[in-house]
Structures are given as C-alpha cells and as structure tokens.
Symmetry: C2
Subunit: 255 residues, 2 copies
Amino acid sequence: MTQVAPQIQTKNHTGVYHPPLAALRSHSLFADMSDEIFSDFSHAAQELSRSKGAILFMQDDPAEWFYFIVSGWVKLFRETLEGDEAVIDVMTSGHIFGETAILDGGIHTMGASAVERTVLIRLPASLLKSAITKSHDVALGMLASISRHRRQQTQEIENLNMQNAPQRIGCFLLRLCRTNDIEAETTNFNLPYDKSLIAARLGMQCETFSRALNKLRKQTNIDVKGAAVTIPDVADLSEYVCGRCSNEYPCSDLH
Amino acid sequence: MTQVAPQIQTKNHTGVYHPPLAALRSHSLFADMSDEIFSDFSHAAQELSRSKGAILFMQDDPAEWFYFIVSGWVKLFRETLEGDEAVIDVMTSGHIFGETAILDGGIHTMGASAVERTVLIRLPASLLKSAITKSHDVALGMLASISRHRRQQTQEIENLNMQNAPQRIGCFLLRLCRTNDIEAETTNFNLPYDKSLIAARLGMQCETFSRALNKLRKQTNIDVKGAAVTIPDVADLSEYVCGRCSNEYPCSDLH
C-alpha cells in the first residue's frame, strides 16, 4: 500500500502554510472560509501518494473522504451495466473531487482512480458536511465550487452535441495549449495522458479517435508523434474548432 | 405581448396557496425555506403566459428574473460562433431555470424560449441573491437544487459518451414512458415536442435522428407514427438501451 501521513504539518515556523495546503486554501470551496474553520480542515488533512491505476474509491462507496489533487491526474468514471467504463472526467492539480457525495446521500456517484503517480490531500467528508450545515460561508463556498463545475459540464454537453470528432480532439488540444503558451505561433507540448484515455474522455472508440485525429492533422497541419504535439498556428486550429462552440478562444473557463 | 399579472393572489380565503405557488413551494430550492422568506418570493411572483417560440431571455442578458415552469415546455440554448443553435436542455413543469445566473456574475449563460404555449412564474433574481446571502437555509436549498441538476448533467455526459444514436433515442422514450405508465406491457404516449427539437436535444442532425429511429424500430419493435409512440414491451426496450448506462431502469433520478 501507499504511505499515508496521518497529519500534515500545517504551517512552518514563520506561519506560512505547507504548500499543498496553501493551494487548497485558494480553491473556491475554501477561499472565503474563516481561519478557524479552515484550521479544522488543515489539521484533519492527510497527504497521500498513489501509484498509476490505484483506485481511490468506487461508485456507490460510502464517502468517507473527499480529495484535492496536488499533482498528477485522476480519472472519474462509472461502470455501465454491460461492464464498460464510462470516463466522466479527468482532473489535474488544483481540483477537488468526491466532495459532492455529501449532497448525494453520502454515497460516491462515480469511482476515482490515479491515471499516473498522483499526490493528493484527502479530507473527511463528515467535516465538510458539518461545516456546511453550521457555517453559511462554507455553504456559499460550496455553491461557488459546484456552480463552476456546473458551467464546465454545460459547456461539455454543448460540445458533445455540436462538435464532430476531429473538432472535439482539436478543442481538447487547444485547451492544453492555452495553459502552456498562448502567444507563440508554433506551440509544442506533450499529451498529458494516454491516447486511449483521451479517446474515452472524449466519448470515442479508439478507432474513431485515430481516424478523427488523422482528419484533424490534414485540416489544420498539427503534428502528433507519440505524445508530442506541435501546433504550427493556434489561430488556424481555433478557426477549425471554435466556430462550433458558443465560446471564443481562449475559453472563458480557463481565464 | 403577453399578459403579466403584476402579482399573484398568494393564498385563498382558507389560507391555501394559489396552486402554482404550492408547486413552487415544493421545489427543492424552496422546500426548506422559512415561511417568512417564502412570503417575500410569493409576493414578488408574477404569473405569465408565453406563446410558442417566445424568447424569455438571451444568452449574455443580465438576469433580472428566474423562472418556474407551471405548464408547457421551455428550451435552453446557446448560439455557436457560426450561428447554429446548441440545445442544452428542454424542461417542463416543476422545473426552475435561470436561477444560477446569480452565481455567474448576474448574467444568463444560456438563452431560453417557450417550445409551446407555456405558463410560468417569474421571480426577481435580486431577491434570490439577497436571500442566499442572508439566509443559510436558502443557501442550502440552492445547493440541493444545483446538486440535483449536476447529477442529471453527469448522467447526460455519460450517455452522450457511451450510447449510440438509437440507444439515446430509446433512452429518451424510456424516460417518457416511465412518467406515463410503467406497469403496462404495451405503453402508448405522444412525443412531448417536435422530432426536430428532440434530435437537437439529443445532439443529432435530423437525418441521423431519422436513421437512428428506424434502427431502433427494427431492434425493439417500437412504433412511432407522427407524435404517437407505442412501446410493445418496455423490458425489451430497456434491455437494448440500459446496458450502455450505469443506471438500471427505472432511472434513479426519476424516482
């Protein structure tokens, strides 16, 4: 099994938060929380490291913990009745997951697993539940957090409805290149995880993904060799992709 | 223009709520609200009737009101940069929309229009905003409401990722037949709105919808003539559709 630090040293001798806790503090769920309540969370926080493929929880598990990603990638998924995996989301550092179980009868409505070696902070779900019940500010923080998530889901439903497969791949790449380098005309970066997971994340079979990526290559002159992506002209790619979206590039939720 | 009753008579002489207000009161946003705060809402409520196609608000409009559907259907949509309409949701009686604008900087992130003659109650967005800021119970009601909506969106993303076009149509029909008659082996009902809108709601071009409906007919012996739907065996249809979903029939969000 992996190491669990039972408790993080919350602040150093100059009173500065342990870096992962400082990142947690700036998340919309915690940003407006009183120091007193945040102190309860920071003292209950446990830092853990999980290796590639490790399950954090399964769909229908009682929610004992919720999680903040310090580094790495986490996949949220469900299993269909036929036993196939539906990838609902793939999240990286700065994101929280599992927290909404307290609004779903204390049960996780999705499973979660580490896509690669991932460092997380886990926090007791019961603490969040009682903080929301007791504190109006925490309830407002939870509203801000869930509302941001709802906006992303609405955008995703729009894109799944309107964009074809090459455009959805292009959209996925554009959003990555935004976080790397927006000014440069030629942009290089690596895919953050396996192509098979990207395909599942975009709701495509692997063969559909390959065909669509080839079409995207021809239409926009992008180059994808293994994990290495080269986008010769971001504006070209954006022109191909963003016309079928209600948002102009760069996407407002990445601001 | 349509008629706006500046104020609804909130209760009759025996102290019973005007029926649309009683329905509003039972919505998760209002269910746990104090009588005092609900009274502010009921006194500010305006009942209105809108004809087919009438616009309630456009994307990016400042949110003056939010809405509760008393009867009829409302379409929520966005416009892509190329000018096509992306249908995000189609809602009927008992649902609220436009309320989350107060969490999105006071701006509607979607447009809304009446799909047919529709009766609504509209309520001032500013009243909801101040009630959430002042009252912890209202904030918790908003959390319950938005969290239910988030669950539905998650289910929709899963279905868009996993189900093929005939299965998505089958799923749409199954959810309707659940609300009509779940016991009968042969179930008859009418489509709630135009096939072209159903196609858009399911993220399909009209031609794709027609082909997929034909395939569904052959696979499950359902019959669709104009708006009239006959499902000879709900279990058969469910077997074809629900294997590609994580939820067993009948769907948990319809309970």
